[in-house]
C-alpha cells in the first residue's frame, strides 16, 4: 500500500496544551481522505505540520514517501495546499497571484498560460481575474485558494475546510471538483466540518478529537463497525409471506423481521437500495405505505465517537 501521508506518533504542543497527541495517520495514494473532528480537535495543527508551517515536538511525518524535517521545498513541489480561509496579498490581481505562484512552482510561461485560464474557469473566477484580490469576496478568495492549490497539478492536495464561505452552488461545484481531481490520480486530503460533504466524496476517513485519532478506515468500514448494519423500515399494506420471502432473497439483505405490517430489513451495504427493495415488494403484490433508511449516517458515527472520547452524553 503506497502512502501519500504517513505520520508516526506525531505530537505537537502549544505550551501545556497538547494539540496533537501521538497521531498515527495513514493516507493511501489516489484516495479522497476525509479528516474530521470537532473544533479544536487538532485538524488544522496536524495539517500545518504536514505542510511545514509548524514543527512537530515529537514523531515523524512522511509526505509522498519523503520525510518532512525542516524546510523542504522539494516536498512542497509535489503538494498543493489550501489553508482554512486563505488570505492572499490584496495588492495583487487574481491572475498575477497565480502567475507568481506558478513561477514559484517552476512552471514555464507556456504551462502558466495553459493552466491559469483553465483553473480560473474551473473555480468560477473567469472574468474576475483582472480584479485585485483585495476586492474579492470571501467566497471568491476561497475559490482562488482552490485554484492555487491545484496550480502545479500536485500529487497530493491538502484542503482545510474548502467549502467554508462558499454558497450552496459553490459547495456542490467544489465537491464535483474534488471527485474530478481524484479521478486524475491526485490524492485529496480534506479537512471538513461538513459531514455530509465528506460522506459524499470521501472513500476514507479519519476522525480525531483532542489530538487523538479515534478511527481511521474506509468510510464504509467506519460506518459498519460503529453504527452496525443499516436498516430499512417499511410499512406495507396487505403484507404476505411471499413479500417477506422475496425481500429475503435480495443479495444485500442480511435479515428481515416482521412486526404487524412493518418490515425491518437489515442491509449489508451502504448503497441506497430503496428502489430495488421497493420494486421487489411491488412486484410481489405489496403496496408500500412508508419507507425509512436508518443507521448509516456518518454524523451518527461521528457524534457517537466524539461524545465517547470527550465524555459527553451521546445525543
Amino acid at each position: 500500500m503506497e502512502l501519500a501521508i504517513e505520520t508516526s506518533a506525531l505530537t505537537k504542543r502549544y505550551g501545556s496544551l497538547t494539540a496533537v497527541n501521538k497521531l498515527d495517520l495513514k493516507v493511501e495514494r489516489n484516495t479522497i481522505h476525509g479528516f474530521l473532528g470537532p473544533n479544536g480537535a487538532g485538524k488544522t495543527t496536524t495539517i500545518k505540520v504536514l505542510v511545514g508551517l509548524l514543527k512537530p515536538d515529537e514523531g515523524t511525518v512522511r509526505i509522498l514517501g519523503q520525510e518532512v524535517r525542516g524546510d523542504r521545498p522539494d516536498v512542497r513541489l509535489r503538494v498543493g495546499y489550501m489553508p482554512e480561509l486563505p488570505k492572499f496579498p490584496k495588492h495583487l490581481k487574481g491572475w498575477e497571484l497565480l502567475d507568481i505562484y506558478g513561477r514559484m512552482y517552476g512552471m514555464t510561461v507556456q504551462e502558466r498560460k495553459e493552466q491559469i485560464p483553465k483553473l480560473l474557469e474551473v473555480v468560477g473566477l473567469k472574468g474576475r481575474e483582472r480584479d485585485s484580490v483585495g476586492n474579492y469576496s470571501k467566497g471568491m478568495q476561497q475559490r482562488l485558494g482552490i485554484a492555487q492549490a491545484l496550480l502545479n497539478e500536485p500529487e497530493l492536495v491538502i484542503l482545510d475546510e474548502p467549502s467554508l464561505g462558499l454558497d450552496p452552488v459553490g459547495m456542490v461545484e467544489v465537491r464535483e471538483l474534488m471527485k474530478g481531481i481524484a479521478k486524475e490520480g491526485m490524492t485529496v486530503f480534506i479537512s471538513s466540518h461538513l459531514l455530509f460533504e465528506v460522506e459524499q466524496i470521501c472513500s476514507h476517513v479519519t476522525i480525531i478529537n483532542r489530538g487523538v485519532s479515534l478511527v481511521s478506515d474506509t468510510l464504509q468500514n467506519v460506518s459498519h463497525k460503529l453504527s452496525g448494519p443499516a436498516t430499512l423500515q417499511i410499512e406495507v399494506a396487505k403484507i404476505s409471506d411471499a413479500i417477506v420471502e422475496a425481500v429475503k432473497k435480495l443479495p444485500f439483505v442480511s435479515n428481515v423481521s416482521q412486526d404487524g405490517n412493518t418490515l425491518t430489513i437489515e442491509l449489508n451495504t451502504r448503497d441506497d437500495v430503496r428502489p430495488q427493495v421497493s420494486q421487489e415488494i411491488t412486484s410481489s403484490g405489496g403496496v408500500i405505505v412508508s419507507m425509512s433508511l436508518r443507521g448509516q449516517s456518518l454524523e451518527e458515527v461521528f457524534m457517537q465517537l466524539v461524545a465517547k472520547s470527550s465524555g459527553w452524553k451521546a445525543v
Binding site: 489516489n30 500545518k48 488570505k87 492572499f88 495588492h91 513561477r103 517552476g106 486524475e184 490520480g185
Partner: protein
C-alpha cells in the same frame, strides 16, 4: 485509471525562476504600498522645494541666483539621515511582519521556495525598490539643478552617490527587518527603528561635541562624528548616513585629512574648539562602509534566522 494524468517533473526547474518569482511578488507589493507612494511624493515635493525656493527668494529680493556647478554633486537627491530612515521604514516595515499579520505568509511559505529564498528575494526587492526610487530622484535633481544653477560638474559621480545613499538606507532597513521578523509586528518594527533613530539622533551631537569619546559614534548607525577638511573648509561626518557624501569627497579629494573636534568650553557669546584627532578621509570612508556592511549583514542574519525558525500558529 485511464484518466490519470502524467505529471511534469519540475524538481530541477530553475532556482532563478523561483527567486525572481519572490522578487516580483515583493516588488509589486513595494511599489503599490500607499505609504511608499506617499513617501515618493513627499521626496519629490521636498526636492522641488529645495530647487524652487532659492529661485523664489532671489526674485523676491531682486538678486540674480548665482551659478553653482557643484550643486547636484553636493546635494545628492536631498535625502538626508531622516530621509534614509523614512524610506527604509516604508519599504520594509511589513516585508516580513506584514505577511504574518495578514496571514499571507501561509500560502507563501507552503510554496516550493525555501525560507532563505523568500528572505533573499525580499531583501533584493527592497534594494531594487530603493535604488530605483533614488535613481528617479537623482535624475530629477540633476535636471532641476542644471536648470536652476547652470551646467553641473562631475555628474558622472551621481551613480556613486546613488549607491552610497542606498547602502545608507539598507542599514536602517536591516534593523527594521530584524525587529519586524522577531516581533512579527509592523508597528513594533516601525516604532522600534524610530526609537533607535531618535535616540541616536539626539545622542550623536551631544557625544560628538562635548565628549572625548566621540570615536564611539563611528561604530553606530547614523550621522557619526562630525569633523572637517580644513583645506577645503568642508564639513564631514563619519557615520553610515554619510556614505554618499564621503564617497564623492574621496573621489574628488583622495588625499584629504579630516580633523575632529569637540567644544572645549561654552561661554556666553563664544566657544572654544579643541582638536581631538586627525584621520585620512580614506580611513573615514572605508570604516563607514565596513560599519554599514556589518550592520546590514548582522541585522539581516537576525531577520533571516527569525524567519527560518518561525512557526505559523495563527
Amino acid at each position: 485509471m485511464s484518466d490519470v494524468k502524467e505529471r511534469r517533473d519540475r524538481t530541477n526547474s530553475g532556482w532563478m525562476t523561483r527567486f525572481w518569482a519572490v522578487v516580483k511578488y515583493e516588488l509589486l507589493w513595494n511599489i503599490r504600498k500607499k505609504k511608499f507612494l506617499g513617501m515618493i511624493v513627499v521626496a519629490f515635493a521636498l526636492a522641488t522645494l529645495s530647487l524652487a525656493l532659492p529661485v523664489i527668494l532671489s526674485n523676491m529680493i531682486g538678486q540674480p541666483l548665482s551659478q553653482n556647478p557643484d550643486y547636484v554633486v553636493s546635494a545628492g537627491a536631498g535625502i538626508g539621515g531622516l530621509g534614509f530612515f523614512l524610506f527604509a521604514i516604508v519599504t520594509v516595515m511589513n516585508s516580513i511582519s506584514g505577511e504574518f499579520e495578514s496571514g499571507t505568509v501561509v500560502p507563501l511559505l507552503t510554496k516550493p521556495v525555501s525560507r532563505t529564498m523568500v528572505f533573499l528575494g525580499k531583501v533584493f526587492a527592497a534594494f531594487i525598490t530603493l535604488l530605483s526610487a533614488y535613481a528617479v530622484l537623482f535624475v530629477y535633481t540633476a535636471i532641476g539643478g542644471s536648470i536652476v544653477y547652470g551646467p553641473q560638474n562631475n555628474l558622472h559621480l551621481v551613480p556613486l552617490s546613488l549607491l552610497g545613499s542606498t547602502l545608507s538606507t539598507l542599514v536602517w532597513a536591516a534593523i527594521t527587518l530584524a525587529i519586524g521578523s522577531i516581533s512579527k509586528s509592523s508597528l513594533i518594527a516601525a516604532l522600534g527603528t524610530f526609537g533607535i533613530f531618535i535616540a541616536l539622533s539626539i545622542s550623536h551631537p551631544i557625544v560628538s561635541i562635548f565628549s572625548d569619546q566621540a570615536w564611539v559614534l563611528n561604530y553606530v548607525p547614523g550621522s557619526g562624528v562630525t569633523g572637517s577638511i580644513k583645506d577645503l573648509a568642508k564639513s564631514v561626518s563619519s557615520g553610515t548616513d554619510n556614505l554618499a557624501a564621503n564617497l564623492i569627497n574621496y573621489v574628488l579629494h583622495p588625499s584629504s585629512e579630516v580633523t575632529f573636534y569637540k567644544i572645549g568650553a561654552l561661554r556666553p557669546g563664544s566657544s572654544s574648539m579643541i582638536e581631538l584627532y586627525l584621520e585620512p578621509l580614506s580611513l573615514v570612508l572605508l570604516r563607514s562602509i565596513a560599519v554599514a556592511a556589518t550592520y546590514i549583514l548582522v541585522f539581516s542574519f537576525i531577520a533571516w534566522y527569525a524567519l527560518k525558525r518561525a512557526q505559523v500558529v495563527e
